[in-house]
């Protein structure tokens, strides 16, 4: 009775299965494999259980960069989300200008990460950089290479410049999807501009903001190239974020077991925080 008509159809699933296996499962298992062994060379390896995890969790380097990383991601979201919404709100709704705005906004997104780092590295230099030179000329002692505060500000500014567009574009599409009837109804109800934003636009943006915030959190939490090019993690360790710590560990010190354990912990943190953000935001959306 319950015969399946054509079993060959299962082969259609094979490519996806292989792709997932090679892109996600196999590398992840490799990392898991590393994380439970002490590896000296190709033949000398010992099973150490959860030793690496214990050690990594006690490592002050990890603690420091984890805290730095959280502060950084938090600042990124705090600045980019409201700024992105503002930009989207200010954009013209239709016509040539809106097309122009879209193109201008898209430009930073198209520039490769390391180029962004390089641009800002030059831009901020006190001797030849446009920003650095004028800041110093105005009497502000600005030096991202020497002052950790300046370095932080520059990395943040760079990230804001690079990624606010993403939030703005997402919000812009979200705003465009709101039917005119809503604005008309609100105007008839004599709603103020703020009330329109608070009760119509913001609620309707909730789903795109959820995607935007998750993307920006995950991306900023894994930031590597730009600060590496700009400051190299310095001055001192002030702009060394998690992924740079990890790279130093894995490649610089060839500490594969420790790096493997670190990677997994890193991965779990991102997963956990993303889940928390997602749950919190969908809960707000349900409006209970």
């Amino acid at each position: 009775m319950n015969k399946v008509e054509n079993n060959k159809a299962w082969f259609l699933v094979l490519p996806v299965f292989l792709l997932v296996a090679f892109s996600a499962v196999v590398p992840l298992m490799t990392v898991v494999n590393y994380s439970v062994q002490d590896i000296f060379d190709a033949t000398n390896r010992y099973f150490v259980g959860v030793e690496w995890f214990k050690e990594v969790l006690r490592d002050p380097r990890l603690h420091d960069s984890l805290i730095r990383q959280f502060i950084f991601s938090f600042c990124v979201l705090l600045i980019e989300v409201p700024l992105g919404i503002c930009v989207a709100l200010m954009m013209p709704k239709e016509g040539r200008w809106s097309a122009l705005c879209l193109i201008l906004l898209a430009i930073p997104l198209l520039i490769p990460w390391n180029v962004v780092g390089t641009i800002w590295q030059i831009f901020g230099r006190a001797d030849i950089g446009l920003m650095g030179y004028y800041l110093n000329a105005m009497g502000i002692d600005y030096n991202y290479a020497g002052n950790s505060g300046d370095a932080w500000a520059t990395v943040l500014l760079m990230d804001v410049w690079h990624w606010t567009s993403l939030i703005a574009l997402l919000c812009y599409s979200g705003l465009r999807a709101i039917p005119d009837a809503y604005y008309q109804a609100a105007r008839i109800d004599r709603a103020s501009g703020w009330a329109i934003f608070r009760y119509i636009q913001l609620p309707k943006l909730q789903s795109v903001l959820l995607i935007g915030i998750l993307l920006r959190f995950m991306d900023s939490f894994m930031i590597y190239t730009e600060p590496f090019v700009l400051t190299g993690g310095g001055p001192g360790n002030s702009t060394t974020f998690l992924s740079q710590t990890l790279t130093t560990m894995a490649i610089g010190q060839f500490d594969l077991g420790r790096a493997g354990a670190f990677s997994l912990i890193y991965f779990l943190i991102i997963l956990l925080v993303s889940w928390l953000l997602y749950t919190a935001m969908t809960h707000v959306e349900k409006g209970e």
Binding site: M1, N2, K3, E5
Partner: protein, 375 residues
């Protein structure tokens, strides 16, 4: 081609969607499935088409068991509520698509496409794209595609529901004509009793996944077996009220009385459910034994040429179906008249006991015969 459903049951996620349905459709017949939303019409059609497998029971075509056979291997067409066409193919190519898939030669395809398009009166739009057409024309295109296949079974799932009423009127009439000459079994799902009556053929009344009555459309309409069927097959629904028959009088909902007449005398004392068709209630007394009832107007719904008057008093809630326009303010006090000789009587479980005797019954020959007493 005949289609038989044998003890068909369908359970989805522990919920009974179709409950022990037995049906038999003759070749060339036009069959209406009448039922409210969620009565199981769509599920039943999907089972007939082979898009779904019944949890138990058998689907037979020409006596051969087709239960497990997938839709691709059956010769079935389906027309949906939404106007489903290939948006990037012209109307011509849309209609031709089933034949091209079947590998027919060019001349045959061309001849059949033009023939079918003519039947559905879209022969002048063959080069257009579906989205350039009106809703009615789009649905005609979808119907042409279903017809051209010469399918053994054509399923219509409320195909007119998304059209405005003028187009609905037009297409409804054409549907009848279209299927007169065909050897195909047509199954047509609808929520509207008037559509079922206009289409004729046989009607199956579905209620909560069960087939509660099946027969010639006019027969089912005139002789409902149960309260549920009478209620479903009447638009607006049959006016129903509980009541009692004593030795000398009939009481509706405890407060409205009239003397027992010859019509109802045979039933004997007891509690019953009484039903009156909305079209049998009137604003003026027609016969001298009509019962006068004082009511308040809830709403006069006017549809161009007819009025559906919703009224109620403390005990009764009635709907009148009137020809012509009658405007009333909400809550106006009026009197309505109930013909005491045109009352359906059901027992307390809802089984029919009596169809009104003075109600004329039209048999197949189109002549009027006297009433028949059931039960």
């Amino acid at each position: 081609m005949s289609l038989t459903l044998e003890k068909i049951t369908k359970v989805v996620d522990g919920e009974l969607h179709i409950n022990d349905v037995n049906l038999n459709f003759e070749p060339g017949s036009f069959n209406v499935l009448l039922g409210r939303t969620l009565a199981g019409k769509t599920t039943l059609m999907r089972l007939m088409a082979g898009l779904e497998k019944p949890t138990s029971g058998r689907v037979l075509m020409n006596g051969a068991d087709m239960t497990g056979v997938p839709v691709r291997q059956r010769n079935v067409s389906m027309v949906y509520q939404q106007f489903i066409n290939y948006p990037n193919l012209s109307v011509y190519d849309n209609i031709a698509s089933p034949l091209r898939l079947a590998g027919d030669d060019k001349q045959t395809i061309d001849r059949k496409v033009r023939e079918t398009a003519e039947i559905l009166r879209i022969e002048n739009f063959l080069t257009r794209m579906p989205l350039e057409l009106s809703g009615g024309q789009q649905q005609r295109t979808a119907m042409a595609r279903a017809l051209i296949k010469d399918a053994d079974l054509i399923l219509f799932d409320e195909p007119l529901v998304n059209l405005d009423y003028k187009l609905r009127e037009e297409l409804r009439q054409e549907m009848r004509e279209l299927f007169k000459v065909r050897n195909t079994i047509a199954v047509y799902a609808t929520t509207e009793p008037n559509e079922a009556l206009a289409l004729g053929g046989t009607t199956t009344v579905l209620h909560e996944g069960r087939s509660i009555q099946y027969g010639e459309t006019a027969e089912v309409y005139n002789f409902p077996d149960t309260v549920a069927c009478a209620e479903l097959f009447s638009e607006p629904p049959l006016n129903l009220t509980k009541g009692e028959i004593s030795d000398s009088e009939v009481t509706l909902d405890q407060a409205t009385h009239f003397p027992l007449n010859a019509d109802l005398a045979g039933l004997g004392r007891g509690n019953y459910i009484f039903g009156v068709r909305p079209s049998h209630l009137a604003l003026f007394p027609v016969n001298e034994d009509d019962l006068e009832i004082s009511v308040r107007v809830e709403l006069a719904e006017i549809s161009g040429s007819e009025t559906f008057l919703h009224v109620r008093n403390k005990h009764l809630s009635l709907v009148l179906h009137l020809t012509g326009i009658y405007q009333y303010e909400v809550d106006a006090s009026i009197k309505v008249y109930m013909p005491t000789h045109k009352i359906f009587v059901f027992d307390e479980d809802g089984k029919i006991l009596k169809v009104p005797t003075r109600l004329p019954i039209v048999n197949q020959a189109g002549q009027i015969s006297g009433g028949v007493q059931h039960g």
